[in-house]
């Protein structure tokens, strides 16, 4: 065990050289609805803020939140340029249903599929819905769990605060 720790420490120091731009986005690769790999560490919105929300087709409050967000999304985009990534934590039981579900609901978000909860774990999401607001540099400036009626207004206030 001791040797392992020493070895691990040595490896860590070696990689310590590659100091990177500090962002709160974990280096987890998941797929989007088109089946394309998306490396979360590289998520950006051209320097503008973006939102990452965790949801599932079986989560009632999540659907309420997304319906509400979808209604205000065009206005928000026009005013702040914000982008919303909705990460589905549906597992293989419901993955195939996510796309028809999203389209059927008419949602306009960028949907990502976290089929085995890799991103959920990396971002410490205990229960959906869980919403993160990132600034243009990928730093978390606000996060919120649960959804109450009208909760999107608070998110919008936070977006306005960091809008440049």
């Amino acid at each position: 065990m001791k040797r392992l720790i020493v070895l691990m420490a040595a490896v860590l120091f070696a990689f310590g050289l590659q100091a990177q731009q500090k962002s709160d986005l974990p280096g987890v690769t998941i797929k989007n609805l088109q089946g394309k790999d998306v490396n979360i560490a590289k998520l950006t919105n051209d320097g503008k803020p973006f939102v990452v929300t965790f949801w599932a087709t079986w989560c009632g409050p999540c659907i309420k939140e997304h319906n509400a967000l979808n209604e205000v999304y065009p206005d928000w985009q026009a005013e702040t340029g914000v982008k919303i990534y909705a990460v589905s934590i549906d597992d293989s039981r419901t993955t195939a249903k996510v796309k028809p579900f999203v389209e059927g609901k008419g949602w306009d978000f960028d949907i990502l599929l976290d089929v085995n909860g890799d991103l959920k774990r990396a971002m410490n999401v205990n229960n959906p819905p869980h919403t993160f607001l990132f600034d243009g540099n990928g730093k978390i400036v606000y996060q919120h769990t649960g959804y109450f009626e009208g909760g999107e207004e608070d998110l919008y206030e936070e977006i306005l605060k960091i809008k440049k």
């Binding site: 310590g16 089946g35 008419g106 990396a122 009208g150």
Partner: protein
């Protein structure tokens, strides 16, 4: 000295440039006696606590984390074996996009999980992490190879060498998986409307034959192949898995191979989504310990494909996968009547229709020592025609939902469900008649002002067969717990963004056994601040099944107070 200097410089950046994040959750329940719902003995357990704390550390391409768990003792309805405290999970990963290595406890999934899936679900007390090594290599765009090797978590059992263990039959799990996404891989296909990806996996377990009666194969292999196709608005996915003979406690020690096939076809356009899924599984329970029961040491995951209900009465009878075989189909339509039309109104109207059904597979007898037998221990078990569907129906759910925002203050959701639930097979209540029920709910939200809103739910469940006065035997009385008609009402008042107060009553008014016609009254207060949630509730909880991801646990009836504190940072 120079070396030391460099090291400390690195150590400095290692601390400064790193991110530390984590989360905590504690669920505590205080139990009390409640003669009214038959709780006359707490068995010495007045308090149950499930808690975890996890910390993740990330520095560039490196990340590490650990999770500490405490079950002191576990909440009612969780497995007794969880009782304990300790570091349940730790890992370290380096992944630079080309190659990734993880040592420690690994969660991963090959394809849809038919031959390999390790995951963790806190609300079920489920964790089958693989402790070992995982390597991921992405040699070219669109090409991914994975390899895993290790032993699975089994509650708190130590990970020791075989020689030192007494009752631990856990084997070693090894697996490889490859996936090729043609669209990402072939430049000419980058933006093609036709999309295709292929994948294949092989997983084997090396287990120890400890049986006195049967010859247990020490190496059991399983393989799967998958294809995903999409063209324009259509998408088709399919996966087939095969497992060699694998006698186990779950399949009654038969020497039959296992098979699974899962396919889905979908069509999506803005405002309309249609999906059809079919599934056939036969003897596909795959565990790294052949004596395992329930969800113990599952290597694979067989997803159920029925609709997941989220309201109280509709989710009372949730289907869980039958590991020894089933044939299932599901059809779902989501449609939004556009805004500005007569039926759509100002906000559009969302409609959903879902139908799912699960039946048993057909099993035919096999010859054993001159006799025709079915599913007899130590035999080949049975043969099964791939396309035959048994008359034995496990489950059926037909439901229709309408979701309508009426104006800026009122929002209504209503659903009707017709349900068939073979409680004998799914919950093991031998001899109990199947549940055939009509269920309906109305969920109405009224926005008082920008900050405050009221929500109420009315739900009803009406069973066809089990009516008042149904003749039952005194000895099988317990099978009638929770049976018959139910009503449910809920009133919730929320002050965005922090507070929610709710009261609810679930009433089994139509139970055939008069003394089971109980009220389950609960009151809940919850407070949310950013990523912290505190919830306090008191009252009665009815006996039921909690399911997440198609995996379920039964929750006994209880009475008392529950406190949940959850936070992320």
């Amino acid at each position: 000295m120079l070396l030391l200097g460099t090291l400390s410089l690195h150590a400095q950046s290692f601390v400064d440039q790193a991110q530390v994040s984590g989360s905590f959750q504690t669920d505590a329940q205080y139990y009390r006696l409640d003669q009214g719902i038959g709780i006359t003995d707490l068995n010495g357990k007045k308090l149950g606590i499930n808690g975890f704390g996890k910390i993740n550390y990330t520095y560039g391409d490196f990340s590490a984390g650990m999770r500490f768990e405490a079950f002191l003792p576990e909440l009612n309805g969780f497995r007794r074996e969880l009782n304990g405290v300790g570091l349940a999970n730790f890992f370290a990963t380096y992944d630079n996009g080309f190659v990734g290595v993880t040592v420690g406890d690994i969660y991963d999934q090959f394809g849809s999980g038919l031959v390999f899936r390790t995951y963790e679900e806190w609300s079920l007390g489920m964790d089958n992490a693989l402790r070992g090594v995982r390597t991921v290599i992405r040699p070219a765009q669109g090409l991914t190879f994975k390899g895993v090797y290790g032993r699975q978590r089994y509650f708190w059992a130590p990970y020791l060498e075989r020689e030192f263990e007494i009752d631990d039959y856990r084997g070693i799990v090894r697996g490889i998986d490859g996936e090729w996404d043609l669209n990402q891989s072939i430049p000419a296909m980058h933006n093609a409307e036709f999309k295709m990806s292929l994948g294949g996996s092989f997983v084997s377990k090396k287990q120890y034959d400890m049986s006195l009666f049967y010859y247990i194969p020490e190496n059991v292999g399983a393989a799967a192949g998958r294809v995903n196709l999409a063209y324009g608005r259509f998408a088709f996915t399919t996966e087939y898995a095969y497992k060699i003979n694998d006698p186990s406690a779950i399949n009654n020690y038969i020497y039959k191979e296992g098979q699974a096939l899962m396919s889905s076809l979908s069509y999506s356009q803005k405002g309309l989504g249609v999906v059809l899924q079919v599934k056939r599984t036969d003897n596909m329970s795959f565990k790294s310990m052949y004596t395992g029961l329930q969800n113990d040491l599952d290597i694979n995951f067989i997803p159920p494909i029925n609709y997941t209900h989220t309201h109280s009465l509709p989710s009372m009878y949730t289907y869980s996968t039958q590991p020894n075989g089933e044939m299932a189909a599901q059809f779902q339509v989501n449609y939004t009547i556009p805004k500005g039309t007569a039926l759509g109104g100002k906000y559009g109207t969302k409609l959903a229709f879902n139908m799912s059904q699960v039946n048993d597979i057909v099993r035919d007898s096999v010859l054993d020592h001159g006799q025709m037998v079915i599913n007899k221990k130590g035999t080949l078990g049975y043969t099964s025609n791939f396309f035959s569907v048994s008359d034995h129906r496990f489950f059926r759910d037909i439901n229709f939902e309408i979701d309508k925002k009426i104006d800026k203050d009122w929002h209504v959701t209503a659903q009707y469900i017709n349900l068939y639930y073979d409680i004998e097979t799914i919950e093991g209540h031998a001899g109990a008649p199947a549940v055939e029920a009509n269920i309906g709910f109305l969920d109405v939200t009224y926005k008082i002002n920008k900050r405050q809103s009221l929500r109420f739910e009315l739900q009803g469940l009406w069973e066809k067969e089990v009516k008042k006065g149904y003749a039952y035997d005194e000895s099988e009385k317990k099978d009638y717990q929770k049976r018959g008609d139910w009503a449910f009402g809920l009133l919730e008042y929320t002050i965005t963004p922090h507070w929610s107060f709710s009261i609810a009553d679930k009433w089994n008014y139509g139970n055939p056994v008069p003394e089971f016609r109980d009220h389950y009254f609960t009151g809940t207060v919850s407070y949310i601040h950013d990523a912290t949630r505190i919830m306090l509730s008191g009252g009665r909880q009815s006996e039921g099944v909690v399911c997440v991801g198609g995996v379920c646990r039964t929750v006994p009836a209880s009475s008392g107070v529950t406190l949940t504190v959850s936070t992320s940072f």
